[in-house]
Amino acid sequence: MKRLRHLGTDLRQIPSPLSDAMSSQRRNFEVLAAYWLDAGASAFGVWDINGPLAHWPPTARIVAPYATATLHISGIPIGQLRLAGADGTMQTRLESDARFLSQIIALNTELDTMTTELVSNQDQLVALYNLSQSLRNQLSVTAVLSSLAQEVCHLVEVDSAFAVLVQDVPIVEQCPAPIYDPADLLALFAQVQTRGHELFANVHSGGIALAPGMETLLLIPIEIRGVVVAGLGLVNKADGAFASPDAKIAQAISQQAGAQIENVLLYQESLAQARLQNEMEVASRIQLQLLPRKNPTVPGLDIFGRSRPALHVGGDFYDFVQEPGQPFVYSVGDVSGKGVSAALLMSMTHTIIRNAARFMQLPTPQDIIERANKDLYDPFTEVGLFSTAFVGQYDPEGRVMRYANAGHSPVVLCPVGGPARLMEADGIPLGVLTDTLGRDQLLIFRPDDVLVVMTDGFSEARTGSGELFGYERLLRLTEQVANGSAQEIADALFAAIDTFSNGHAQDDDQTLVVIKGV
């Protein structure tokens, strides 16, 4: 971690362990020297591999020593103790002193190393703290990547740094300047993505094709939500090749940056979601405007309609059309699928059926359906959806109910006194073929007859365990509640599926029109 320079750490340079020990343990050496001089030696000296470090008495020069003993650390000679003017018994004791001193010096060196590591770890912590401070206020991914490249340039002695994020549109940020072709950097990052771990590269060792101008490269993968989609690159280390300590600090930085990028992405997603939510609410309000605001008054009929969307915008619709001089027309439909595309096509289908009912010359229900199918075939084909539609028309004279059904269900007819039965479609839905292949059907609609045109949100309402409400229950339920008004029948049907679902979320739009003969 010698390259942590901005923190002002003055890491001690150690020329030799012995001279270092001499300066920190000088007092002990002096005691030892005094002992030898007392014991009869004329001079005591300490030498390292470069020459003399100290003599006692200071003026003495031990050119031809009487006795010497070598100091070792881990078996490597680091210096000598020298005596002059001593008798022969002193050699053994000098060697014993040398062993003892060697041990002290070794411990001293170890302590120094540990201190250096501690300082270095502390530096790294401070560096990471600074980095997280500089990243935390960024709310765009580009700003985070740019900060990351800048901070790394400050932390590590390199010519330049870069950060990449590969999403729909790849982002490449470089510091201090955009030196390299982003395409080259992305190609290098792609290799890290494939490997899943860091990349050390050196222009001299070959193997990896570096970008023009790159001598050495360390590229660290950054995981976002468990996938490597970002990377941090350090280019051209000041003093040679990158090594594992460089990777260690770069990895620590990358982890911080990864967490911050994750936060920013999350923030952006929730922002986008909030915007979308807002737009969906507007769309939902527009759709509610399309639905009839009140139930029509038609001689001989009691009519009630209601739609309850599952999402904010749905694919179900119903409509009532009353034009002077024309029979009353009603429609119910369900665009396949859910969400915005279904809702947009629902608006179109609703409008086209309404306009056909209003502006065609005395159309029958099947005329309206065929007109709508011709208009909607291309848009539905484009989007890959279709819509079922039921269109009814009531002529009070003779109480004739005429209807056409393009693939719509369930439609339940409960004649006065029952039993209720399902009125199956004979035409295929709108937007499937250029012809719906259906025909107009006729029905004499007497007082107390009940017709309920629903969407499949009723028959397919289900319990938490997946059991469907089904057609049989709808038929029996309609019989049971057929005595009520149109609204009472509708309320009872909604209440019944709510009870049945018992809190299970509504999967699909639920729409109905109840018509009762009066």
Binding site: S336, A425, G427, I428
Partner: protein
């Protein structure tokens, strides 16, 4: 849900299993995208499908239309009862050519 496919001569056979709904539909749409241009005569064998929702029906309709645009067709085979009922209620049984077994659906394309 599995989306498996194979070739039977020049006919592409799509085998679906389990629930065919809005969650599965995108992978079926992808398969149609990859397949129809080269092999517009397709059999969708639904014998393993227990349920279809309206998105699944729309996916099949879309596939059928695109096959026909490329002078081919989409035949359905092996409908389980719940699937058959939904096709009958929506009268989509009138729009598709439906066969009991996959080999019949393949043979119906002729040679």
């Amino acid at each position: 849900m599995d989306v498996k496919s194979r070739m039977s001569g020049e006919i592409a056979v799509l085998e679906l299993n389990g629930r065919f709904d809005a969650y599965v539909a995108p992978s079926v749409v992808d398969w149609f995208d990859r397949t129809i241009t080269d092999a517009p005569r397709i059999v969708a064998d639904l014998s393993g499908v227990s349920f279809v929702d309206s998105t699944a029906l729309a996916t099949l309709v879309q596939g059928m239309k695109r096959c026909r645009q490329h002078a081919g067709d989409l035949h359905l085979s092996g409908l389980q009862q719940p699937v058959r009922i939904i096709l009958e209620l929506t009268r989509l049984d009138k729009a598709f050519s439906i066969f009991g077994r996959e080999d019949e659906a393949v043979a119906a394309f002729g040679h």
